[in-house]
């Protein structure tokens, strides 16, 4: 299919200021989109309130507006520039939210502005959890049990049905702002109240907790001819309960057989088709019960996301760039693969290495913020590394954090020097460390090492952390190797 000639100018909405959960990855995707669409000869109009971005550099767009990303200002720009369409999928949640507001208030209709990338209905279906659950039902996929509530009383009723712990997720917020996990009624009441205030539509989802389940993500692309390809599978080192942005993540998935992976792939195709993202990328998250393989769909982002930036780097498949091309009518088989140049983009990258991403937190800068990790993202950055083994990638990523650590141990910078402990205090420490590991915290990765050094078994650690034993086994191999090296000391 050739590119669309019925449109001449495209409005791209950026993601605004850097906040937790929405950082430079959206500058990257927006910049890619500006470049590609201008190359294709379209007039590109850009709005982004953040002048410290690449996309607002001169020459990247035909007209750049550094204005607040609010319905009012976007409408003013539409009046002046009369774009034919808006591409709302490059600027994170901010761009989607403002687009939905403009569509619902009738502004888009008034100025006959269309949407490319994702239609209003698709955005609503993906973002509104009620509509999302109904959509998943229609294609025979399962979500966690629970319901939407607009008041504390209703929330209490649902809580009685599903039992604690319960996850609280406010509707239409970014990075899971205002969300949390409640283990009892008091916590629940407080968190629901907070969630209701955070949600622009005063609604929260209270849901059966799948804490401790395995978490997976698939990056999916679809074109106007309904071709769907999976760019990358991602398995989270940290189980469900820790926000993906705060999880150590690994690509590709490590502990799924082909049968299980293909079931997930089929589900992802059903999700993107049912939600109706016509062109471009989406990110779909799944939870899998490690005991029986039961799979739930957690959520879908109908846009390029933090994970798509990671998937692009991990596979070499430029998701944002291709998504922009798909948005103007090209199909996957018409776009050349960036790496091979000779073969088309309609393929699924296969890699001969392992990718590990480790988040970085800066709690020193956020005094008073609880450092426990949960469903609300708290990390401010990340390092990604590639290696031929998980261990290699993991060590490289840890070292790349620029926090003064050279990897998992062997750098003389431990808070706890296990080798110097007496046998008696070892067993006390073992218990302390295992207890500490029950609560997800930023430095836990080093505590995993202490636990292993203290003789905790993989079962012990799995019991405390719910981290898949396969990952723990790999860490154990690193720790054992350190011990071996240490034994050669003169």
């Amino acid at each position: 299919m050739p590119r669309r000639d019925d449109i001449k100018s495209i409005l791209i909405i950026g993601s605004g200021p850097i906040v937790i959960g929405q950082a430079c990855e959206f500058d990257y995707s927006g910049t890619q989109a500006c470049k590609v669409l201008r190359e294709e000869g379209y007039r590109v109009v850009l709005i982004n309130s953040n002048p410290a971005t690449i996309m607002t550099d001169p020459d990247l767009a035909d007209a750049t507006y550094i204005e607040p990303i609010t319905p009012f200002f976007v409408e003013e720009i539409i009046k002046r520039e009369k774009p034919d369409v808006i591409l709302p999928t490059m600027g994170g949640q901010t761009a989607l939210n403002v687009t939905v507001a403009l569509a619902e208030s009738g502004v888009l209709k008034k100025y006959s502005v269309g949407l490319i990338g994702a239609k209003l209905e698709a955005i609503q279906k993906a973002e509104d959890r009620e509509l999302f659950k109904a959509a998943m039902d229609r294609v025979g996929l399962h979500c966690a049990r629970g319901g939407f509530v607009n008041s504390i009383d209703d929330a209490m009723k649902v809580a009685e049905e599903i039992g604690f712990p319960i996850i609280i997720r406010p509707s239409f917020t970014l990075g899971g702002t205002g969300g949390g996990t409640a283990y009892n009624k008091d916590e629940f009441r407080e968190k629901v109240q907070h969630g209701l205030i955070s949600s622009p539509i005063h609604q929260v989802l209270v849901e059966e907790s799948v804490i401790g389940w395995k978490e997976f993500e698939l990056e999916v692309m679809r074109d106007l001819k309904d071709n769907v390809v999976i760019i990358c599978s991602i398995e989270n080192f940290d189980p469900m309960g820790v926000h993906t942005g705060d999880s150590i993540t690994v690509a590709p998935a490590q502990t799924l057989t082909d049968k299980e992976y293909q079931t997930m792939r089929d589900a992802a195709k059903k999700v993107i088709r049912e939600i109706g993202v016509d062109t471009g990328g989406s990110n779909i998250q799944f939870a899998v019960n490690p005991k029986d393989g039961r799979m739930l769909v957690i959520e879908m982002n109908p846009r390029v996301s933090r994970s798509s930036a990671l998937a692009s780097k991990a596979t070499g498949f430029p998701i944002a760039k291709i998504a922009a091309k798909l948005a103007v009518g090209y199909t996957l088989d018409e776009i050349p693969n960036d790496i091979t140049k000779l073969t088309p983009a309609s393929f699924e990258p296969t890699i001969d290495y392992c990718v590990v991403k480790i988040p970085r937190w800066d709690f020193e800068k956020f005094k008073g913020v609880e450092s426990t990790l949960g469903v609300q993202m708290k990390s401010v950055g990340e390092a990604m590394a590639i290696g031929r083994t998980f261990k290699e990638a993991f060590q490289k990523a840890l070292r790349s954090m620029e926090q003064g650590r050279f990897g998992l141990g062997a750098d003389g910078k431990d808070d706890l020097n296990v080798r110097e402990l007496s046998d008696k205090s070892r067993s006390e420490w073992k218990k302390k460390v295992l207890d500490r590991l029950k609560i997800p915290k930023p430095e836990n990765v080093f505590y995993l090492r202490y636990a292993l050094q203290l003789g905790a078994t993989l079962e012990d650690i799995h019991e405390s952390t719910r981290i898949d034993p396969w990952f723990l086994h790999n860490l154990k191999q690193i720790v054992d190797f350190e011990e071996e090296l240490y034994s050669y000391r003169v």
């Binding site: 001819k225 309904d226 071709n227 390809v229 999976i230 599978s233 590709p252 998935a253 490590q254 502990t255 799924l256 057989t257 082909d258 049968k259 299980e260 992976y261 293909q262 079931t263 792939r265 089929d266 490690p290 005991k291 029986d292 393989g293 996957l332 088989d333 073969t343 088309p344 309609s346 393929f347 699924e348 990258p349 296969t350 890699i351 001969d352 290495y353 392992c354 031929r388 083994t389 998980f390 898949d468 034993p469 396969w470 086994h473």
Partner: protein, 390 residues
Amino acid sequence: MKAKLALEDGTVFTGEAFGAETEVTGEVVFNTSMTGYQEILTDPSYAGQIVTMTYPLIGNYGVNAEDLESVRPQVAGFVVKEYFDFYSNFRATGSLGDWLAQHKIMGIQGIDTRMLTKIIRTTGAMRGVISSVDLDDENLVAKAKKSPAMAGLDLATTVTTTAPYTWDELDRTPFALPPSVKTRVNGKRWNIVVYDFGVKRNILRRLTAYGCKLTVVPSTYSAEQILQMNPDGIFLSNGPGDPAAVRYAIQNIKQLIGKKPIFGICLGHQLLALALGGKTFKLKFGHRGANHPVKNLLNNEIEITSQNHGFAVDPSSLDPTKIEITHVNLNDGTNEGFRHRELPIFCVQYHPEASPGPHDSDYLFARFVDMLERESVGAGKDKQEEKGRK
């Protein structure tokens, strides 16, 4: 235990044995799938081959009794970068290494599989040997050179079933794929004879899912024997080796063309091409993996496909007045499928049954059943017309 992999070009890799500790020769090929090692190991099409996985971490999810494509591992040997004896998956019943040892299949790990793959891509698939009993480089290279070449080798005859059997099993795991369309409208089930050149079980399961009743027969069954069984259709399976070397099968298929509807996969596709007067040739390093994009020329849709073949059909050798090319590989433009313009015959080079791999091409089984239905209606009509004339 220390082990070595030697190629006929003189390259020698040193690693560590897992599975059985022995010595074996074979054609060294690589597979790019990131999941599905158990299905790959048990695929009879890998007979005579030492399979290298380009994905470096293997063994992670162990093995189980469900993900088998035949009764046992069929590869000659297995080469990986890092083998995991420690596994984690709720379906796992044991480790990959123990299972390979039990079936006397040798694996070698700690190999720079990226370098090995690059060598194969440059030079082409090569003969090789893996050994934990002889570690002398010169000896090993000599053994690799002496081993049989794949071109001209009939391996299908070595992996086919010895006696016919019926098959009526479905995938009973929670991951079973339902048929994409309603199977049988009127409850009728089709009797299909499956020519076994090394058939994968998931082909049998998918045909069964679409309402076929299967009789699997040895590759050596003659055309007369097949026709005596009077099936509604014939399926030509996948299998190992050089298609041109399975001469008796080509002769048999020639006699079946025009008599019954035929569907072929992989080696079955190549044998059909040869029986229709076409030619096959050996690919430099073959297609083995689960991410090959194929374009369906009939509707221009793209399928991500599972593939495993070292030979291919030369489409220019097929008579365009009789044969229509239906599928093409988007990576290298090679032929992936064709159909007969007049007769109920079609086939694909790749694996619509997946296992391992994506389910994008499952519709081909539906197409086969549709073809059987059309043929049976057509035949019924013909008979009625005949009756009317009488």
